[in-house]
């Protein structure tokens, strides 16, 4: 087999000395900044700001040359794993390759240099882009209308739950509970609380999915709705989803789709057809918006016709003459963002959708699922598979008992997910997500994505198998030894908090 393109073990990450901070590099009087020639009168600060408000000294920042700044940031960048460096199989996070053409599109001055308050007549390109994207997202999800304002998945969740609340109020009801499966992502219950609802956890059945029989025990007319991720965070399709939706609707509730895993079902199935009423999408997962070291992303919300008048506004609308404008939905819950959402992330997603089209998006999901299944077939028998059914785009296995016998005192008993994660770094791959979902002990949640080649998936599987076979022991506990720093004492950092250079 050819060499795996996604293995980063050759990366030197030069040296193990600490990088000084920008403050350590600072030299009084040194500077990089320069300003445009404007011909403005040069009034002194004292004539511009009342004495009582004027700060006596400038804010101490850093004083560095441009050259030292570039060197500092470049060295920091060499101490950072990224998708561009190698495979990044973080489950749920969907760390697929981010096409460069989308970067270039988002850097076009005609998109970048536009003030958000530009009158619609002068921002037709942005409005057309947003209108087109909203429509495409509705087609992908079988929804009727969308707001692009929420800046991330969690913001989409809160917005969606507030739509749920407004819908019930509009019907003169105020139920209190929102049901979420015990496998749900932490943002789900946190958003439920912020929306003023009480989160009620529904246990997953032995097959790893929510069963209708179980759900019925939680249903009454105090249920505002149910949040579901499908495929769920175990990577399994919620096979009973249609009857779950029917039952929730039957007691007056709405169905909320957490779209974090939409990348598994593009062109295969649509949330609207499953009975969902409200959908958020993580464009930074499904539609390849890069994650930026933790953000920014975009978390648009799409809804059925019944909820469309409630959407946050303004939303882009097309007039009869083909031009575009802003429109506030008639019973809008109000703005969910200071402007129009994370617009440049929306532009990247639109470029990605244009490039892939209907056929390409379906292929994305097919291969994401193929890679996950193929990976699982190589891990089965080595790692414990708690819910061993054909997965969708990601697999969840347990490190407990990996490579051997899980009983106390036997080989394999003591392997922890964190050890597997750290050992995998030594093998040249980023770690999977660990300790999530919470219902699987020592969980490893692995999402290869469709952009990793079979050679990379095979090498990743081989590395995971080798780690399990080695089992627990000093080598596992001491990992990683090839990275710029060794295993971090996280408890120590929390105990004696140093959150700024000034506190250090």
């Amino acid at each position: 087999m050819s060499a795996p393109g996604g293995r980063a073990a050759s990366s030197p990450l030069l040296g193990r000395a600490a990088e000084p901070t920008i403050f350590d590099l600072s030299v009084p009087g040194r500077r990089a900044a320069s300003f445009r020639t404007t011909g403005m009168p040069e009034w002194p600060a004292e004539q511009l700001v009342p004495a009582s408000e004027l700060r006596p000294e400038p804010v101490p920042l850093a004083e560095v040359s441009e050259r030292d700044l570039v060197a500092h940031m470049t060295r920091l960048s060499h101490r950072q794993y990224s998708v561009d460096l190698g495979a990044y199989p973080l489950g749920s996070c969907t760390m697929k390759y981010n096409p460069k053409v989308c970067d270039e599109a988002a850097a076009l001055p005609g998109l970048l240099a536009v003030h958000p308050a530009t009158p619609p007549a002068y921002a037709q390109g942005w409005l057309e882009l947003m209108w087109s994207l909203a429509h495409a997202l509705c087609r992908v999800t079988a929804m009727d209308a969308a707001s692009l304002q929420p800046p991330a998945g969690a913001a989409g969740e809160l917005t969606g739950l507030l739509l749920m609340r407004a819908y019930h109020r509009g019907n003169g009801r105020s139920p209190h509970k929102v049901l979420i499966p015990d496998s749900a992502h932490g943002t789900n219950p946190a958003s439920v609380t912020l929306a003023g609802y009480q989160a009620v956890s529904v246990p997953s059945g032995p097959q790893g999915v929510v069963e209708l029989g179980t759900l019925r025990r939680y249903l009454d007319d105090d249920v505002a709705g149910m949040m579901l991720t499908n495929p769920n965070t175990l990577g399994l399709f919620e096979t009973e989803v249609a009857s779950l939706a029917e039952a929730v609707h039957g007691c007056g509730g709405l169905m909320y789709y957490d779209g974090a895993n939409l990348n598994a079902i593009l062109g295969v199935a649509r949330p609207g057809d499953m009975g969902f009423d409200i959908v958020h999408m993580n464009l930074h997962k499904t539609f390849a918006v890069p994650h930026g070291g933790g953000g920014p992303g975009a978390g648009p919300v799409a809804v059925t016709r019944a909820l469309a008048p409630l959407l946050p506004g303004p939303v882009p609308a097309r007039l009869e003459d083909g031009s575009f404008t802003w429109l506030v939905p008639e019973r809008s819950i109000g703005r969910a963002h200071g402007w129009h959402g994370n617009a440049l992330a929306l532009a990247r997603a639109w470029a990605y959708i244009l490039a892939n089209g209907a056929d390409g998006l379906k292929r994305v999901s097919e291969v994401a699922v193929l890679n996950a299944n193929w990976l699982l077939s190589r891990l089965r028998g080595v790692y414990t598979v708690p819910f061993d059914r054909p997965p969708m785009h990601e697999v969840v296995v347990s490190a407990r008992g990996a490579g051997g016998d899980a009983r106390p005192g036997r080989h394999g008993a003591g392997l922890r997910a964190v050890d597997v994660a750290k050992r995998l770094l030594e093998e040249g791959f980023h770690s999977p997500t660990v300790y999530f979902p919470l219902i699987v002990p020592e969980a490893l949640m692995i999402e290869p994505t469709e952009t990793e080649s079979p050679e990379t998936v095979a090498a990743l599987a081989d590395a995971l198998v080798a780690i399990a076979r080695q089992g627990p022991g000093p080598a596992a506990g001491a990992a990683p030894r090839t990275t710029p720093i060794g295993r971090v004492d996280e408890a120590g950092a929390a105990r004696s908090l140093v959150a700024t250079w000034d506190q250090g």
């Binding site: 403050f23 500077r31 990089a32 900044a33 300003f35 445009r36 404007t38 403005m40 009168p41 408000e53 400038p58 920042l61 850093a62 940031m73 920091l76 950072q80 794993y81 561009d84 760390m95 970067d103 076009l108 998109l111 958000p116 009158p119 002068y122 037709q124 390109g125 992908v140 800046p151 991330a152 969690a154 739950l161 943002t187 219950p189 609380t193 912020l194 199935a269 890069p290 930026g292 070291g293 933790g294 953000g295 920014p296 703005r335 969910a336 963002h337 402007w339 440049l344 490039a355 056929d359 998006l361 379906k362 291969v367 193929l370 770094l425 079979p454 996280e490 929390a494 140093v498 959150a499």
Partner: protein, 446 residues
Amino acid sequence: MASYVPHTDQDLARMLSDLGLADLDQLFASVPAALRLAGGLDLPPGRPEPDVAAEMARLAGRNRAAEELVCFAGGGAYDHDVPAVTRALAARSEFVTAYTPYQPEVAQGVLQALFEYQTLVSRLAGLPVANASLYDGATATVEAVNLATAATGRKAAWVSEGVNPRWREVLATLTAGNGTQLVEVPLRDGRTDWAALGPGPDGPPPGALVVASPNYLGCIDPLGPARAAADAAGALLIVAFDPVAAGLLRTPGEQGADVAVAEGQPLGTPLSFGGPYLGMFAVAQAHVRRLPGRLVGRGHDIEGRTAYVSTLRAREQDIRREKASSNICTNQTLVAIAAMVQLAWLGTAGLRELALRCARGTRYARESLLGLPSVRPLVSAPVVREFALELPRAPEVVVERMAEEGFLAGLPVSTEGREGLLVAVTEKRSRAEVDAYVQAMEKVLA
């Protein structure tokens, strides 16, 4: 079409056969037949890369960028120069294509940059601890109010009308569920009139007072009276500040803010049609354990080397779940890194000079415009960042007519029942541009 799936037909065939499957369709056997989409997505077919680039360029070409429509609009989004170095470093793919730093051993780059960012924000705010970013100024305000109501156990906030009206709307939207009562405190002549509420309206006492300085009208809103009002009400004081004007003004922290928030866009982020921007958030030491979002700390690896790591994680949604006071997960790290680079590039002297240049342009433009017949100040409080004028024509009409003259003239605003135009002048505007703007305004108002 462009494809980012590396698999050859042979790869697909071999992998399927390894799995004992006949075709790709069989991978979806767990999706009930009734839910399977027949006929595929109703979207056009994929397109090759050059066509995608051309289509995106067509869309971009339908906008008039700040170069063509000379920008005098602010209102929370400012047309500053972004130096090449900030663009280049914030575009490094090691930062762009990384995830949240869950494995600190291979994420020291992002973690250290965030630690440096936190330090810089803390100094700007004059408060000891800053987080690693929130979405934008609006949601930072929401998080601050949620922090204050949780810390005080009081489900109400008094919010100055000087706070950006779109942020206030977001605050109202996103706190509609958790029962926070919001009370607006009016402005009088550009400053918050804390006395206007008297002993306060019916309902719970406030957990927070929220004030902006400089406020939406560009005015310096004195924080002394705000702090006194907060003390009288037993509430925390939340101050929305501006990170550029911070180069000249006393910090929120030294004037008694418990929480300081800001829109960080002016620090190295282009206008971008409104996003992604940057929510800056800093707190007094007492509130560190209620800080929303991620916090990077400095510690050690097991061999004693300096190490940066996400810390006090027990505050966050993935651990606290329904008891978490914030749901934020994905944040705006890349924008925070750009702000860190921008602040380092500006340096101690540069930030002050930037603030000074903005204040000079603001004064020059304001005085020039006030020289036009029937143009009057909307309020008289001192301004540093932008200013509001009362015009003899409706501001919406003026904005439209000025656009025809090649200017984005500003944003319509209102205060105390009067309408005006909010005008922002950054260091990017030359005297000649301001003169041309004033001339165009004269024509439009004639």
